[in-house]
């Protein structure tokens, strides 16, 4: 008698995580497959990290339908899951009359999408709140109910709760075959090495979501991988902004933004470049120069030399023009072509997908013993008066490992022992924040590597930098036995 899952989710990004989190609240047996060695390894960790206000999408699209509600749901979830979120608000800025008209159009759209408390302001008022913005800014649209989030932490937090409540997450499992047999889905993984059986399948495979869809149905959309590159600038150096600063789309493209991050740094980007290889997250000198130039239009004295890091993410743009969320085959739901505002919309999309599954016959009975919520200890957030006592009770919190961000061994060990075990330096970074500061792990990497090996039993040479294959150490130095 083979093991049959009720639902199999393909993809461990924010969409898959939100669905796993949602379904974990019901008496359903869920299999969750992710091809990499951790969650949030695709666009979910390499985006602009914005919880969008909802004024931008067309009202008669799924994006428009979900955005405004999604913003509120994200904020609530962040509070419940102890995920870093800052309600910074956003400005869309205008440099000329044509762009002021565009702001008015966005305002109108925002009203239709039920966005609250928007305000059109003239350039001087905008600059009162954002003194570093260019003098050329003539107007701005202020959107208070928006902000910036820690997108990988958000994904992982939802995933941890899902796993805590029985979702069977299997990492390093790439779906290589998907066929229907005996009224069940037969899911082949890693070229036939393993096979799973499931009543329902949900495709949340990000940039590969068209490939998964095409295994079970006629091609209905094509993913057009579109790369965006970013600068991350050091918070201590150079002028800053308080809110997310958007430019109006122009002939040049959608416009580059300048945004605070949850950690207080400044994010600059992204550009927009269609690429061939779906996972090519290289950054190029030309793109970075272009991003820098465009950003300086908003903040003229932006200090691009205060760069901590550059990175790139691949959007799941498509020729469909909206999220592709529908039942595409019997008992098969697509959550595909999820580009911006996909992060913001992840929670309502998950509810919608759950409804689609229910319409397809999935019996959903709410659990009475669901354990939600999450609380993470961050040493630097402990009030000073309580620190001495806390360390006495929990000595490992007394040892600072990541000096730049003041992150302690206790936090790293706690992160390693939560529901989804990290096996790389970057996986620990995504959970505890180590290595994100100005030395970029120069000081803490050897120490974090040692802690991971110690706590997981992995050999130090098996601790990856990030994805499978990203080895750090090749072996012991000469003359040492392994």
């Amino acid at each position: 008698m083979r093991d049959v899952y009720d639902v199999t989710i393909i993809g461990g990004g924010v969409s898959g995580a939100a669905l796993a989190y949602t379904l974990s609240q019901y008496e359903v047996k869920v299999l969750w497959l992710e091809k990499e060695n951790d969650l949030a390894m695709g666009a979910s960790r390499a985006n602009t990290a914005i919880v969008h206000g909802g004024y931008d999408p067309e009202p008669d699209t799924l994006m428009g339908k979900f955005n405004t509600q999604g913003a509120y749901m994200c904020m609530d979830l962040c509070a419940d899951l102890d995920v870093e979120f800052r309600k910074t608000g956003s400005f869309i800025i205008a440099f000329n009359d044509a762009e002021i008209e565009h702001l008015k159009l966005l305002y109108k759209r925002g009203l239709e999408n039920k966005v609250q408390d928007m305000e059109l302001m003239d350039g001087d008022r905008v600059r009162e709140r954002e003194p570093h913005l260019s003098k050329e800014v003539v107007a701005g649209l202020w959107i208070p109910h928006s902000g910036v989030i820690n997108p990988w932490e958000f994904t992982i937090a939802m995933g941890e709760v899902a796993v805590r409540n029985g979702v069977d997450l299997k990492l390093k499992k790439q779906v290589t075959g998907l066929t229907r047999g005996d009224d069940l889905w037969v899911v082949d993984v890693n070229d036939g090495k393993e096979t799973y059986y499931s009543n329902y399948v949900v495709n949340a495979a990000g940039v590969h979501s068209d490939e998964i869809h095409n295994r079970v149905a006629e091609p209905s959309f094509k993913i057009i991988p579109t790369r965006g590159e970013y600068y991350l600038l050091d918070r201590a150096i150079g002028p800053s902004v308080n809110a997310v600063i958007f430019q109006c789309p122009s002939a040049r493209g959608k416009g580059v933004l300048v945004s605070p991050t949850v950690h207080g740094n400044i994010l600059v980007g992204p550009n927009s470049e269609v690429i061939d290889e779906k996972e090519d997250t290289s950054v190029t000198r030309e793109a970075l120069e272009s991003v820098g130039e465009q950003a300086q239009r908003s903040v003229p004295d932006l200090n691009l030399r205060a760069s901590i890091r550059n990175y790139a993410g691949i959007r799941s743009n498509s020729d469909y023009g909206d999220f592709f969320i529908q039942v595409s085959a019997p008992h098969f739901v697509d959550i595909a072509a999820i580009k911006s505002p996909g992060l913001t919309c992840a929670p309502p999309i998950a509810l919608y997908a759950k409804d689609l599954l229910e319409q397809e016959g999935l019996a959903l009975q709410k659990k009475t013993d669901w354990k939600g919520g999450r609380k993470v200890v961050r040493f630097k957030e402990i009030p000073e008066e309580e620190r001495a006592a806390f360390i006495r009770e929990n000595p490992l919190y007394g040892r600072v490992i990541c000096r730049c961000e003041t992150i302690t061994e206790g936090e790293i060990v706690a992160a390693i022992h939560r529901e989804i075990t990290p096996v790389s330096l970057d996986a620990v970074k995504r959970r505890a924040g180590t290595g994100m500061g100005r030395c970029q792990g120069g000081f803490c990497s050897p120490r974090v590597l040692e802690i991971i090996a110690r706590e997981t039993g992995l050999d130090p040479t098996e601790v990856m930098n990030d994805a499978e294959g990203s080895y750090i150490l090749t072996g012991p130095t000469k003359g040492e036995e392994a």
Binding site: V283, I391, R399, G442, T474, T477
Partner: protein, 432 residues
């Protein structure tokens, strides 16, 4: 109201932030001057600082007239701690420093003693420096594993006992890059080249000879890495020549297959705590502005070693740090009785990058004042270092050769400084 009203767990005469060569020398010198309650706070599990991973020799040629390895040099000072009563907190991090004219107050934390508030009558900043990263210089390409700063790689290899790669390209010909080039070869790796963006090397000449030339590792001057490729681990790099503006020249691309890139692209004094204490920083050194006693803009706070300015020779770190320790002791004991009668600002022009100290506060206690500096360009034939007050020359020193990668120093007698008019002295290089 200031930190003098805060509760604290312990009070010291002197707290030294950092137990590397700078902190050790400062603490010992302060003790020798008669200071009593001294504490060294060190974040690592042992004293010695960066010297612990510098297992090559060449340390102490000036100070001890011997050629020691890094750990051996540190050991001399660590041994001298015995019997001094100097307190040491290992595995302990200083979180912050607050300074008013009446007190110096800091928080430390460690596993053994937990979270503590400490007060000090004087403080010596000796936190050393960190390495400039790939992100800071924005090398394009993918972000695979296998890109290390040279010091981090050195930690893995020399302290943790792990090799980090087999086919290596080094970016930057500073001393750390040169030393690691040799180290990787000695551990069985192939080092393909050392790539240096400037037309000259930033490291000590002896290291270029002993680490590159002796191992037939090519030094590519006026070149840089313009792309790193590899999916999960480094697979190759593109190296290009640069022009006089350090811009890559199209058409000069060379590709190297490799699995490891070591970056030796600069050291940055670690002054986060200093900045947060509102202590004045010199943007040219990224270290605190000090007078000839190594005293910063904050009363009773002194700085020495790499946190003040990046050194090449630990011997000078020791001497500088001893001066800081003595000054701290004098400060606490109220021994600097003679009044400051004159302050001279030291300025530089385009031939000199910076000076340490940045100002001289003359009193009758002074005699000979040593000024460290770095030149901006190579001077491979004899040249003069001139000190001028703007209207006339105060002093002139002949130097056979000077390189940006080798810190220089001159000694200014007070008698000559007293002859200066105005309150600014300029230090510059004049060709013969």
């Amino acid at each position: 109201m200031g930190c003098e009203t805060y509760d604290f767990d312990q009070m010291y005469d002197l707290i030294v932030l950092g137990g590397g060569p700078a902190g050790l020398a400062a603490a010992l010198a302060a003790h020798d001057q008669g200071l009593d309650k001294i504490l060294i706070v060190e974040r690592d599990k042992e004293l010695g600082g960066i010297l612990n991973q510098c297992i090559h020799n060449g340390f102490g040629l000036h100070y001890f007239k011997e050629e020691l390895t890094g750990p051996e040099y540190a050991e001399r000072f660590i041994d001298d701690l015995k019997g001094t009563g100097i307190d040491v907190l290992l595995d302990t991090m200083v979180l912050d420093l607050e300074v008013t004219d009446r007190c110096r107050f800091l928080h430390v934390m460690g596993v053994e003693r937990g979270y503590q508030a400490l007060r000090a009558k004087s403080v010596v900043l000796a936190m050393g420096c960190r390495e400039r990263t790939r992100g800071a210089i924005q090398i394009p390409g993918s972000r695979p594993a296998g890109v290390f700063t040279a010091g981090t790689a050195q930690r893995y290899v020399n302290i943790e006992g792990w090799m980090v790669g087999k086919r290596v390209i080094i970016l930057g010909s500073g001393d750390i890059g040169l030393i690691m080039a040799r180290r990787m070869v000695l551990e069985g790796a192939e080092v393909l080249a050392c790539v240096e963006i400037m037309p000259y090397s930033g490291g000590l000449n002896r290291n270029i000879v002993q680490c590159l030339n002796d191992y037939d590792i090519p030094l590519l001057l006026s070149h840089t890495i313009t792309n790193i490729e590899g999916h999960e681990r480094v697979e190759g790099v593109t190296v290009q020549q640069v022009d006089e503006h350090l811009t890559p020249i199209p058409g000069t691309e060379t590709h190297y297959d490799c699995d490891t890139v070591l970056l030796s692209v600069g050291l940055i004094p670690e002054n986060e705590i200093t900045r947060e204490a509102d202590i004045a920083i010199d943007p040219r050194t990224s270290g605190p502005i000090v007078n000839q006693h190594m005293e910063t803009s904050a009363p009773g706070v002194f700085a020495c070693g790499n946190v003040l300015h990046v050194h090449d020779l630990v011997d000078f770190v020791t001497e500088e740090s001893q001066a800081a320790g003595i000054a701290a002791a004098n400060y606490v004991q109220g021994k600097r009785s003679a009044e400051v009668y004159r302050t001279l600002e030291l300025k530089t022009d385009k031939t000199v990058g910076y000076t340490v100290p940045q100002k001289i506060e003359l009193s009758d206690d002074d005699n000979l004042i040593r000024v460290f500096f770095r030149v901006r360009q190579i001077s491979d034939k004899p040249a003069y270092v001139v000190v001028s007050d703007g209207t006339k020359e105060i002093a002139r020193f002949k130097k056979p050769f000077m390189f940006p990668g080798e810190m220089q120093h001159i000694r200014l007698p007070k008698v000559l400084l007293d002859k200066a008019d105005g309150n600014t002295l300029t230090v510059f290089v004049e060709e013969v």
